[in-house]
Symmetry: C2
């Protein structure tokens, strides 16, 4: 029988969930990728829907919001923080790593690394929100690995609302995609990074518009692979016999797009918890 | 010669600008309507771009943000506050009227009144963002004036991003409009309220999609008419010989859509001022 005094911190940590946060609902695509790869893991997701979107706000504000949400995940005993938001990944991950003594994984580095592995001709396209494209975060991450790669970036602000309308298989969506992708295809890209956590929901339509010659790099899937590496290398993985679970909390009561994402991603989300954050009053 | 002790508060107030605020840039359509109707007026506009959008946030938060921004307009000696934002008009105008001892004009009541005046068959359509439609503010304002009117409301979340892309005359926009308006046209509406301050920028395309039989009610234009009434009845109008002016301040440095709106609305916006607000850190 175990002594009540024996140090079992490692065991405690192993039992904690993977903490995932996003400014809103889009980060659930990362949750779906995590569940597919790591079915034994518990996941605690927080969407900061009271302050969505982070894009367009200043670095200081995004750092403050991210630190606050990550703190809520620590309160849930998270063993690892996944920043499932491109804007927060671009701007707040260094600050989170500085402040918190646990692994922090964003979505940009894994996506950039996968793009560099995938490309044959060194011409990589990136699509994302205006804020993500303006941050040049993917370009910088790609150039850190492959200084000679050519990166062609296109902001696609109409895609998120189309996805939130669930117009996944839709003539309008196909036309919007052709308009956004044509300039990238003209540049001869052979790899396209889906640089927004909403976009995997549109993967099939994007694939049709980009054509067979272009490999899609899904940052949600590649982020899940990176998380798996951390869990293995730091012995944080849940026991394989364990049955995983998912808990979802939002910072504002509106559920709107949540149920669209739940259905499209085939997630099982039960009751939604509510968490208060400062600036939402 | 006037005594230096004579009370000249009324004269001072007359010199102040019309203060206009919106959660972002869309309220500039109200500014354009004000300039067209009242070319002698000075206008001070603040867009709360650090916290845009208000839609989807709680009443308490929207009240707090609105009070803070209206306070910034008071600091600019505003003689009247125009709430050029449908969400803030729906949720914060009563609180502003309670707190501030000067006229406060929102966009919803004038739009509702114009719709009631316009309709012949009592069947009124309303389009707006998800937050505005979910607030039922137009329905309530219309029913207060015409209890028997039938109101058919449709949230159109894809329209704002299309407008921010400046896809005004565009086959994609036409298709999106047809999809949103068809259910309203099937209900036999003869009047359609443009219940979002962005939408006047899309007036021609909306008019095409709605057909000649439907009268469009532009809440920006009707809000300007209501402001004109207040200025006249309270003797607050600027002297007619005065040349009007426009100053614009934002709460976040990103200007993105501002320049699209400036061009489309033929506004003359010079340097943008920056104003700090609490929750933007």
């Amino acid at each position: 029988m175990e002594s009540p005094d024996s140090p079992n911190v490692a065991v405690e940590i192993e039992k904690g969930p993977i903490g995932v946060f996003d400014s809103g609902i889009g980060g659930l695509t990362v949750v779906a990728a995590l569940q597919q790869l790591l079915p034994a893991e518990q996941i605690f997701y927080i969407g900061d829907t009271a302050r969505v979107p982070y894009g367009g706000k200043s670095r200081r504000t995004i750092e403050r919001y991210s630190v606050e949400i990550a703190g809520l995940l620590l309160a849930e005993q998270a063993k690892l923080i996944v920043v499932a938001c491109n804007t927060a990944s671009a701007l707040a991950v260094p600050r989170l790593k500085q402040l918190f003594n646990l692994p922090v994984q964003g979505v940009i580095d894994p996506g950039a690394a996968a793009a560099v592995r995938s490309t044959r001709n060194g011409r990589i396209g990136v699509i994302g929100t205006r804020a993500t494209i303006a941050s040049h975060a993917y370009e910088q991450a790609i150039h850190a690995l492959a200084p000679d790669a050519r990166v062609f970036a296109e902001p696609c602000p109409v895609l998120v609302p189309l996805i939130e309308e669930a117009w996944f298989e839709d003539a309008i969506t196909d036309q919007v995609l052709r308009r956004y992708l044509d300039p990238l295809l003209t540049e001869g890209i052979d790899t396209l990074v889906l640089g927004c956590t909403h976009y995997p929901l549109l993967r099939e339509a994007i694939s049709r518009a980009a054509g067979e010659a272009v490999t899609l790099v899904d940052s949600a899937h590649n982020c899940a692979l990176a998380v798996n590496e951390i869990l293995k290398s730091q012995s944080l993985a849940a026991p394989e016999r364990q049955l995983g679970s998912l808990q979802v909390a939002l910072t504002d009561a509106s559920e709107g797009f949540l149920r669209v994402a739940e259905e499209a991603l085939e997630l099982e989300i039960g009751d939604i918890q509510l968490r208060a954050v400062q600036a939402a009053g």
